[in-house]
Amino acid sequence: MSETAIAAKVICVFNEKGGSGKTTTSCQLAGTLGLRGFRVLLADLDPQETASQWLTENGGEGLKAQVWSGHRYGERVIQQIKEFSNKYDVIIADCAPSVENKSTWGMLLVSDLALIPTRLSPLDMAALPNAKRLARRAREEMGLNYPVRVVANATRMHMNDDKALMNVLKKDKEFPVMPCVMGDRKAYSRSMVMGSSAHAVSNGEDAVKEIESLADETLKLLGLSRTIKVRK
């Protein structure tokens, strides 16, 4: 393997809409992959530094992932990620809430997978076309066809509206929606307070099931084996 080859798999989590679930998805996924034994870097590229603060304020020991605050690097984020790529198995970029942000564009160019979290509401889904256009552009520029998936976040799937909007997302064949969703669960916000993933939250079993499914699906998309031995 070349010294500077992209060893780490890079996941870009982006959407210009604030509150769409970028940080929740990034942190929960990072924590889950960390628990499975991956060396994970969570690149916090959001100027609000929510992920970094979440961990710093809570001791930074609850999440099995390293956090790097890199929003000041702009388009130079590529060089930094390149430096990290040999030290980690997976790099998850929690991007800024703007498709015009230079670091988001840079991360999309070096990604192996892009995730677009969204809430199931017309207001939030109105931001999807811009995100998809940016991902399409990045793939075209790089001549790559890496997978891009929409992740339905804070869902209430027992409600007809959410079911209907989920069906809208399912119709998109170019940027399909992930079959697994992240529900509107307190376990996610509670785990933020604890500086961990939902695994550490008591009564968080449903949330854990969701993020484990998301992790399974993510690894499958990255072409990594999901073979896991359960220690009894």
Binding site: E75, K102, W105, V110, L123
Partner: protein, 334 residues
């Protein structure tokens, strides 16, 4: 928590495959692209405006999508998500703009009803402040709105991002959307704004408050959380309007918290006394050592007797005694 151990060999295979496909060229190419094209989206994401493209000569293009236009050519958002403006804040903004100029352009769109004019999507405080200062121009940033629904959607999104809307703003704008037929049910509003239906219901309940109480809320809408407003709407059954106006004024002044409102409401609840269950005294009727029936009597005065007399003569005698006891004539068996 289930402990899981990752299969190292499977992981190695994955990364070896990845390394085969990737090389230095990918980083270099990405850096080259970023250097040549620092932004991913072309400028066409916003309406392309050029001088001579139907724009008045009084319009100055400050950036690709930022214009300085005559303030009289910009009308207010007919579907503004924000309904309440504090005159004190307008004066404060006016002072700030006089000192430092308009620092942020207001989001607006082309007016499809009046070519050459614009509709303000948000930033009405800025416009009011500029008018107060006697300014002739306003800086606007054009967004691609095409109908009233877009006007509400973008206006709500702008307020939501700045967290500047109040529950009363929401209630008034949703009522307006419903009246205009742009949304129907509360479920539709919930889907539009991404809030639970219960929140929509509680928010709209604010409009059921009497005009006197609403006027207090309108004076200081930011002092009333949704929960506080909803508590007031629940209190309407137990409190007079005058009392409620006083309570609302205390909330506005910061003297009452939402918890105080809950306590007041709970204390005012008229407790209906629980109905005492009547207990009867029972007297067993034993004939020749056998249990044949029961007489029950209650403090309320009720007496019930149930008895089995197999001997017809004995039965007739009892009935006759009872008839006599209650002065019943012999020919009125009913």
């Amino acid at each position: 928590m289930t402990k899981r151990k990752f299969d190292m060999s499977a992981r190695a295979v994955g990364f070896m495959e990845s390394a085969d496909k990737s090389s230095d060229t990918r980083w270099a190419k990405a850096e080259q692209i970023v250097s040549a094209k620092p932004s991913g989206l072309p400028p066409s994401a916003v309406p392309v405006l050029e001088k001579g493209n139907g724009l008045s000569s009084t319009v100055e293009m400050l950036a690709l999508d930022v214009l300085s236009v005559e303030i009289t050519k910009v009308r207010d958002n007919p579907r503004n998500a924000r309904k309440l403006y504090d005159p004190a804040v307008v004066t404060q903004r006016a002072t700030s703009i006089r000192l430092d100029g308009q620092m942020t352009p207001a989001p607006a769109c082309l007016d499809w009803e009046n070519p050459g004019s614009y509709i303000l999507i948000g930033g009405h405080y800025r416009k009011k402040a500029l008018l107060q200062n006697g300014a002739t121009h306003i800086q606007i940033k054009l967004l691609p709105a095409k109908n009233n629904f877009d006007l509400y959607r973008l206006s709500y999104a702008e307020n939501d991002e700045r967290q500047s809307g109040t529950p009363l703003d929401d209630a008034l704008s949703w009522q307006e959307l419903q009246a205009a037929g742009e949304v129907g049910t509360q479920d539709e509003i919930a889907a539009l704004v991404g809030k639970p239906r219960t929140t929509i219901n509680k928010t709209l309940a604010l409009l059921n408050l009497s005009p006197g109480i609403l006027s207090v809320l309108k004076e200081t809408p930011d002092k009333f959380t949704l929960t506080a407003g909803y508590e007031l709407s629940l209190m309407t059954s137990g409190f007079s309007e005058t009392e409620l106006i006083t309570i609302a004024q205390k909330v506005a002044a910061g003297d009452f918290s939402t918890r105080d409102l809950t306590r007041l409401r709970e204390a005012r609840k008229t407790k209906t006394p629980r109905k005492q269950k009547e207990i009867s005294r029972q007297h067993k009727i034993v004939i020749n050592g056998a249990h044949r029936g029961t007489i029950k009597d209650w403090d309320s005065g009720k007496v019930v007797m149930e008895v089995m007399l197999t001997d017809p003569a004995e039965r007739e005698r009892l009935v006759s005694e009872l008839r006599e006891r209650f002065n019943l004539s012999a020919d009125s068996p009913e």
